[in-house]
């Protein structure tokens, strides 16, 4: 049986389901389950947010979710079930944007696999967030470049004490 579930879910079709994620990673061998749920919040950078649109390059996103899962398996071992689902389309406040769940024999591997997966989804998967504000304005979030030449330039800047670094606090 496949121990990994990856999905992109159009919001118009269904909401993400954390209970389904927990069900998927449950196993008699496993005593630890870690779950991360990302939800649409009502503010960002001092602006009142009323909703988010997510744009995804779906075929590559699903491949990258699976590659992330393989990396998590290499990190914590074969006793792992992993669930990664991301929403697509128009989301309202409180809607679930992303659900990651990891089931493992013990809590340490579960936390590590879940953390690795959500960080990689945020930084590596071809997904774009457009925030909509209460004043009617909208803006695409700045995000992380997937372009390796850009990473090299960034590393060079950082090693010379540049302050324009990408802090990864998002």
């Amino acid at each position: 049986m496949d121990d990994m579930h990856v999905a992109v879910v159009e919001r118009k079709v269904a909401a993400l389901d954390a209970a389904a994620a927990i069900e998927f990673v449950s196993d008699p061998r496993f005593g630890g389950i870690a779950v991360f749920v990302g939800r649409v919040r009502d503010h960002n950078l001092g602006r009142v947010v009323t909703g988010i649109s997510y744009d995804l390059f779906e075929p590559l996103a699903l491949r990258i979710f699976r590659a992330i899962g393989e990396r998590a398996r290499a990190e914590v071992g074969d006793s792992l079930k992993l669930y990664i689902a991301h929403a697509k389309g128009e989301l309202g406040l409180g809607d679930l944007a992303v659900v990651v769940a990891a089931g493992t024999p013990h809590r340490d591997e579960a936390f590590r696999a879940c953390r690795l997966a959500i960080e990689a989804v945020k930084h590596e998967a071809p997904i774009w967030k457009q925030e909509h504000y209460i004043d009617g304005d909208s803006a695409w979030s700045e995000g992380c470049s997937l372009c390796e030449e850009q990473h090299e330039m960034q590393r060079a800047q950082d090693s010379h004490g540049g302050t324009a670094g990408h802090g990864h606090d998002h």
């Binding site: 990302g38 997510y54 744009d55 995804l56 390059f57 075929p59 590559l60 491949r63 991301h86 944007a97 992303v98 959500i118 989804v121 945020k122 930084h123 590596e124 998967a125 071809p126 997904i127 774009w128 967030k129 457009q130 695409w140 979030s141 700045e142 995000g143 992380c144 470049s145 997937l146 372009c147 390796e148 030449e149 850009q150 998002h170």
Partner: protein, 86 residues
């Protein structure tokens, strides 16, 4: 050869069809494609910030294609601005 490039995120606004088509000399690298796309958007979509193309990645359905790679024939590509999932 003709290459279709799907647009995502902030670059989607460059063309309401959601893609652009460029004439690219056979054997060109992704770095050349990047220059051609920058020139195309400067001319046809002045409202889009073309600096975004410099920090975008190119990809097929299957993988990211870095600057040194040759533009594949008969493969639809996508240009991916910096990502912001989650």
């Amino acid at each position: 050869m003709n290459v279709r490039i799907a647009l995502y995120g902030a670059l989607r606004e460059a063309d309401p069809r959601g893609y652009v088509e460029l004439e690219v000399p056979p054997g060109s690298t992704i770095a050349t494609l990047r220059e051609l796309l920058t020139a195309h958007l400067s001319e046809h979509a002045p409202a889009v910030n073309v600096k975004l193309v410099r920090i975008s990645a190119f990809a097929s359905d299957e993988e990211i294609l870095h600057n040194h790679r040759t533009v594949p024939e008969d493969v639809a590509l996508a240009v991916l601005p910096p990502v912001s999932g989650g």
